[in-house]
């Protein structure tokens, strides 16, 4: 009668995870994308002439480096449930900044630093409208997509700046000595580690996920929602500007229309990599696999003389298939469990 609730039930024990590790790691979108990446690579290496050559890796990585870089902050932004459509325009703006300043006599190092600063400011403009004014990011960045591109094109007009210091343009295309891997990958790997740690191993990253899943609850738990988003947009601007510098140096040409339309490729790759457009889900590894998958497919198909329209169709189909298959698999999973219950023992009798 007087039993205190406190002592009545035995102290519970809790498992850390409901499922064994291999199940948790293997049955994920990311694992599927990585597996697909491996399969496509092997199939292409076997069946497409010239694909297995090391030069393929070089070209491939040079091509996707811009997308890889921009995809890093984009992943975090999409995980918070926002989106940044202005990234490609920031690439253009950064390219033009670098070009005009260099033309005016500034060394590349300094001009590059200013370009990154301009990118960060562009990101801060997005961040301001989204977090301070409180506007939806999709709408804001459709606006700044036009604004930043307009500034880039307006600043440089018909001209293109091409006379960059050879040291830098060569560096942008150089390879790590003794490997087919472009040097720019060093920059990427460093940034990828930084972003992966930031997202997966820091309190900031925990906040990012919480914001994406339930921003109000995150705010009530002391997550600085606005500040977090603001920081992410600034990072996105800065990294896009960095990608813009690489892009400019790689092609040796600073133009206002550089990288037009790249935003959709970046977003497609991030989504293919398993990041949920609704926020709260996804990881860096999956995104990298997603970018590489699109890159490898494109490279293999081009080598096999498949035209670019077919490559586009395949990319689109892959994107659709990747999300549809997850939802179909979940549905099958539910069905199976449902059937299992029905076949199970009858409900125990009432007491």
């Amino acid at each position: 009668m007087t039993a205190d609730i406190q002592h009545a039930p035995a102290t519970r024990s809790y498992r850390d995870y409901a499922q064994p590790a291999w199940r948790r790691l293997l049955f994920t979108r990311e694992a599927a994308i990585i597996a697909l990446l491996a399969i496509v690579y092997v199939v292409a290496a076997v069946s497409v002439r010239n694909f297995a050559a090391p030069i393929t890796i070089t070209y491939l990585l040079l091509d996707v480096a811009t997308i890889l870089l921009i995809a890093l902050p984009m992943t975090l932004i999409i995980i918070t449930g926002e989106i940044d459509l202005s990234v490609a325009s920031v690439v253009g703006l950064s390219s033009v900044t670098l070009g005009t300043l260099h033309q005016a006599g500034m060394p590349i190092e300094a001009a590059g630093a200013v370009a990154i600063l301009v990118g960060a400011v562009a990101g801060a403009v997005n961040g301001f409208f989204i977090t301070v004014v409180g506007l939806p990011s999709l709408a804001v960045t459709i606006g700044t997509l036009a604004l930043f591109r307009g500034l880039a094109v307006g600043l440089l007009g018909t001209t293109a700046v091409t006379d960059f210091t050879e040291f830098w343009t060569d560096l942008a295309k150089s390879k790590i000595p003794g490997t087919p891997i472009p040097s720019v990958m060093v920059l990427f790997v460093v940034l990828a580690i930084v972003f992966a740690v930031l997202l997966h191993l820091t309190p900031f990253g925990r906040g990012v996920y919480a914001i994406g899943l339930a921003s109000e609850a995150a705010r009530f738990s002391g997550v600085r929602v606005e500040r977090t988003k603001f920081i992410l947009f600034v990072l996105s601007g800065a990294v896009s500007a960095l990608a813009g510098i690489y892009y400019t140096l790689r092609f040796g040409s600073a133009r206002g229309d550089n990288a037009t339309g790249l935003e959709l490729s970046v977003i497609a790759a991030v989504l293919l990599g398993g990041v949920s457009i609704f926020g709260g889900r996804g990881n860096i590894l999956g995104v990298i696999a997603g970018v590489l998958l699109i890159g490898i497919l494109g490279s293999a198909l081009r080598l096999a003389n498949v035209t670019s329209d077919v490559i586009n169709i395949i990319t689109g189909a892959l994107l659709v298939a990747s999300v549809v298959s997850t939802s179909v698999l979940a549905w099958i999973h539910r069905k199976r469990i449902g059937a299992g219950i029905k076949k199970g023992p009858p409900a125990p009798a009432q007491d």
């Binding site: 497409v48 002439r49 010239n50 050559a53 030069i55 393929t56 070209y59 091509d63 094109v153 007009g157 018909t158 001209t159 293109a160 091409t162 343009t169 295309k173 892009y247 790689r250 092609f251 040796g252 040409s253 133009r255 206002g256 229309d257 550089n258 990288a259 037009t260 339309g261 494109g298 490279s299 081009r302 080598l303 096999a304 003389n305 035209t307 670019s308 329209d309 586009n312």
Partner: protein, 317 residues
């Protein structure tokens, strides 16, 4: 995987697999020029292929050039979207023994072996300015509807036109240069905007085939039909209706089919080692006869041809 090995049939052992890389696919001008190239390649028994991006973006051609390098074709014939952006890719291709010929739109001279020039900038600028001057009576406002803001050849021509206008036609005022991005709809809307912005406008020069067709189409249904003159570079098939209904009096162009044809023969000559691209080299170009390489590795096709009501019926491209 058939691009790399098929083309060693003709000549003396050179790899005659020649691939055309236009600014973008689905552009009728390049369809015609590449068809000329195809005809030439079939004549001399090489392997023709055409690849390209769907949109004329500066960097889009690079991955195609890279792919061709990996496939080890014999020659690339390319119209550059950007004089600089594809340079390194082309040089890498050349390092791998591929001969590079540019046509229609050049890159920097050190990134290719030869440039097949459709006409000199002077020639083109002069024809267009003379035509418009004739039609508007040597005085009044004119505007230019160009391709994209960074288009190398258009920009060069426009510069020459400005100089020529200033020296020879002081009464003609060039009020604006607008860019239709070689996109139908944009060019169309820009034409409309021009006409409203400058009510006194007497004529439009559009030195691009997409632009002139769109402008003609807008003019033909507007109140300005017959009042505002239009000339520029166009293909006869696209312009036929407008010449016949009086919207356009005359326009100019070289024969793009011949341009591709010549480029293909130039590539063959390079591949087979007949020429190196040095000034003074001479090579044979099938039905077009013999050509000589000029300064900076440029080969000139000829003078632009002016089409009007009387002669347009003779052409089909």
């Amino acid at each position: 995987s058939d691009g790399g090995d098929g083309g060693s049939g003709g000549g003396d052992g050179g790899n005659l697999a020649i691939t055309f890389l236009p600014k973008n696919l689905g552009n009728p001008y390049f369809d015609t020029s590449d068809a000329g190239g195809k005809a030439a390649i079939e004549e001399f028994g090489g392997t023709y292929a055409e690849v390209g991006p769907t949109e004329a973006a500066p960097d889009a051609q690079v991955s195609f050039i890279n792919t061709l390098t990996q496939q080890g074709v014999g020659g690339i014939v390319v119209s550059a979207n950007d004089p600089e952006a594809i340079c390194d890719a082309l040089n890498e291709a050349r390092d791998n023994g591929i001969k590079v010929v540019t046509f229609d739109s050049d890159t920097n001279a050190d990134c290719r072996d030869l440039f097949i020039n459709q006409a000199t900038a002077d020639g083109i600028a002069k024809v267009e300015v003379d035509e418009i001057a004739k039609q508007i009576g040597n005085a009044g406002q004119i505007a230019i509807l160009s391709a994209s803001a960074n288009a190398t050849n258009q920009n060069a021509w426009i510069e020459t036109m400005k100089t020529y206008l200033a020296s020879d036609y002081p009464d003609i005022e060039l009020v604006d240069v607008v860019y239709g991005d070689d996109d139908d709809q944009t060019s169309f809307d820009k034409t409309a905007a021009l006409l409203q912005t400058y009510p006194e406008l007497k004529g439009i020069i559009s030195p691009t085939t997409v632009g002139i067709a769109a402008a003609a189409r807008y003019l033909s249904t507007s109140a300005f039909k017959g009042k505002v003159a239009l000339t520029g570079l166009g293909t006869p098939n696209q312009m036929r209706d407008y010449v016949e209904d009086g919207t356009v009096t005359s326009f100019a162009l070289w024969n793009p089919g011949d341009l591709g044809y010549l480029a293909a023969y130039a590539a063959k000559a390079l591949i087979e080692g007949d020429i190196t691209g040095a000034e003074g080299d001479t090579f044979d170009a099938g039905k077009l006869g013999s050509y000589t390489v000029g300064a900076d590795g440029a080969v000139l096709l000829g003078d632009p041809y002016v089409f009007d009501k009387d002669n347009i019926g003779d052409f089909d491209f």
